[in-house]
């Protein structure tokens, strides 16, 4: 198992380099212009100078090499400096965003709290709702509960958040006035009262996102349970007189969780990707909104860095999912 993990880790390095090159080259083809948002009152020759100040004129491979060095060599040094108070990165050029002229990683770090609060929490809430629904629907297949569960989760899956978001805002913020429609990213939780404020502002975005998670995970849970419920070992367990609760909740559930756990692990990178639409609707301004504004402003260093961080997370969690699979299911052996 250990050798498998180590081998996969080494294999992922060339994969990541390849991905970074692929993303970079894709971005080079972009027709967008970082100066497109500057008003028409600024003359073209001034825009040309501004572009030159951003280093746009350099050949793509030079830009790519610079980015590689900045991301893999200088940024880790900044991190070390930050942790140990050293000064390795002093005076070295970091990855700079074209929009803000500030280091990309600083902004990313700034955005992580609200992304984790909202998107991460919604993932947990979604899973907590989805598991019981999935288990019970499978146990009572084709019952009213199963049918209505399928119906509701499917509607949840098919209604896009750009509709559910404003709908919740109209109901709970405009009509009832209970919840804020705009998320305050500067809010700090210090005591019970401020926690309550934080809770109120998170309810709606978390629920909108959890709806999507619930729909997917409960489908997986249900089908995995169904596969196991008809297995011979279940019949054996019942035959030897185990109580129904023990059969379902211990024997079947444990075996059914194997694929579900991997599915859950595979979904984790998406948390860090943020939720572009929901963040936009509730003004959460997390990683998703950061990527969107960077894309529209043709802020290539920002887009490049963000997509690459996602790629690292996806590769990492793919690996974790595979390892988990092996740990949970002793029948699977990697060699």
């Amino acid at each position: 198992m250990l050798t498998f993990t180590i081998r996969r880790l080494f294999l992922s390095i060339p994969t990541l380099i390849l991905i970074s090159l692929a993303i970079f080259m894709l971005l080079q083809l972009a027709p967008g212009d970082p100066m497109a948002q500057v008003p028409l009152t600024v003359p073209p020759e001034v825009k040309e100078r501004m572009r030159a100040a951003l280093g746009l004129g350099q050949p793509p491979l030079v830009q790519y090499w610079k980015w590689l060095v900045q991301f893999f060599w200088i940024e880790p040094q900044v991190l070390i400096d930050h942790w140990f108070g050293t000064s390795f990165a002093e005076g070295k050029q970091r990855v700079i965003s074209w929009q803000t002229r500030s280091p990309v990683m600083d902004i990313v770090v700034q955005r992580i709290p609200q992304t984790l609060w909202v998107v991460g929490l919604s993932y947990i809430v979604g899973i907590l709702i989805a598991l019981p629904i999935g288990i019970y629907s499978a146990y009572k297949q084709y019952s009213v509960f199963d049918q209505s569960g399928t119906f509701i989760t499917m509607i949840g899956f098919s209604i896009p958040p750009f509709f559910t978001g404003p709908l919740l805002i109209v109901i709970f913020s405009v009509q009832l006035g209970w919840l804020p429609s705009i998320y305050d990213t500067t809010h700090v939780v210090r005591d019970w009262a401020s926690f309550k404020v934080q809770f109120m502002q998170m309810v709606m975005p978390v629920m909108v996102l959890a709806l999507q998670t619930t729909a997917q995970i409960s489908r997986y849970m249900r089908s995995s349970m169904l596969d196991n419920l008809n297995q011979d070992y279940v019949r054996t367990a019942r035959a030897k007189g185990l109580r129904e609760g023990v059969v379902v909740m211990v024997h079947v559930l444990r075996n059914s969780m194997i694929p579900v756990v991997t599915v859950i692990a595979l979904g984790v990178p998406a948390i860090f990707g943020g939720a572009i639409i929901t963040e936009n609707v509730f003004k959460v301004n997390g990683i998703g909104q950061l990527l969107l504004t960077a894309l529209f402003a043709s802020d290539l260093p920002m887009v490049m860095t963000l997509t690459f961080i996602f790629a690292i997370l996806i590769v990492l969690f793919n690996l974790i999912a595979d390892v988990l699979y092996g740990v949970l299911d002793p029948r699977i052996r990697y060699d």
Partner: protein, 323 residues
């Protein structure tokens, strides 16, 4: 002469005339029929597909025709409880803020959404199945194809989708027109980023099937690889393929609507269900029907597709069939 030769065996013959052998597909259909949800789902999908294909010939109103005098009309059913509402049979589902017929827009939007869904699904299906079968059957290709699958799996999809749309929109637009270019782009992007699951599942199943006796038998009588794949392997993996196909169709429709909302989807004068919904959100209090109608259509389609997938899986899996 042969008759006579066979005569001694006459006693072994059945008294009754032989029944036609039950074909596999009849079994499948019988099982499928028993799944009410699947019947409904398939029926609805067929209905919607036909409606959006034939709709424009029946309801001949140009969806883009502006008619300022008849703007903001309500659907005809509003007259049931609100006698003063601005309604009319010539615009049965009302008009939008510039007087465009909502019914015509829903039909045109459905055409686009369904076309995107079907095309992206077929593309993903073809790529996924091909790669899965090749990787599972030919040992030499397995390693490389699966590493490639991993690579694509590790690309962040939605960000890349946005990047790809901003990148290739203009060149494609020039070559295929605004709608055609966008259609190709969305279909390709959704298709190219959603085949990996199919490929993985198909490969796993093929790997297991390959070691079974019937394949060994087929190979020992000299069946070529191509024939083994077509005759013996593909029919056995059709059930996972069907399931991922149905999910693919739903995902494509939803992805398109998300892109439209972010303003990077089809051009603004080209309706799709997702875009009709996105455009109507700001007036949902005054004109709820404008969000509800496309919303219901998207939901029912996704629901229908999902039930159809459930039913097909049950019907196509011989182990579940007859249960």
């Amino acid at each position: 002469m042969t008759d006579q030769a066979l005569d001694p065996y006459a006693a072994l013959q059945d008294k009754e005339p032989p029944k036609a052998p039950r074909s596999q597909w009849k079994d499948v259909w019988d099982q499928f029929k028993r799944h009410k949800g699947a019947l409904f789902g398939g029926g609805f999908l067929m209905f919607i597909t036909l409606a959006v294909i034939l709709g424009p010939y029946v309801w001949q109103v140009d969806p883009q025709k502006l008619d300022i005098r008849n703007k903001d009309m309500r659907p005809i059913y509003v007259a049931l409880w609100d006698g003063s509402a601005k309604v009319g049979w010539f615009r049965p589902l009302g008009t939008d803020n510039l007087g465009r017929c909502i019914m015509a827009n829903l039909i045109a939007g459905g055409r686009a959404s369904m076309a995107v869904g079907w095309a992206a699904m077929l593309l993903a299906l073809i790529i996924g199945t091909t790669i899965g079968v090749l990787a599972g059957y030919f040992k030499k290709l397995d390693f490389w194809l699966m590493r490639f699958t991993d690579l694509v799996l590790s690309l962040p999809i939605l960000p890349l989708l946005l990047v790809a749309v901003t990148l290739f929109r203009e060149p494609l637009r020039q070559n295929f027109g605004p709608e055609g270019g966008m259609f190709i782009l969305i279909v390709t992007v959704v298709g190219l980023t959603s085949w990996m699951q199919t490929a993985r599942i198909v490969r796993g199943d093929i790997l297991a099937l390959k070691e079974r006796e019937f394949i060994l038998a087929a190979r020992s009588i000299g069946t070529t690889s191509g024939k083994i794949i077509r005759r013996h392997l593909l029919p056995n993996v059709i059930s996972p393929i069907m399931v991922s196909a149905t999910l693919g169709l739903a995902t494509a429709i939803i992805t398109e609507s998300a892109l439209s909302f972010l303003g990077v989807g089809f051009p603004s004068d080209f309706p799709t269900w997702g875009k009709l919904l996105a455009d109507a959100v700001q007036r949902m209090e005054q004109y709820p029907e404008r969000v509800v109608l496309p919303g219901i259509l998207i939901s029912l389609t996704v629901l229908g597709v999902n039930y159809l997938g459930d039913g097909l899986r049950d019907a196509l899996d011989p182990r579940i069939r007859g249960r």
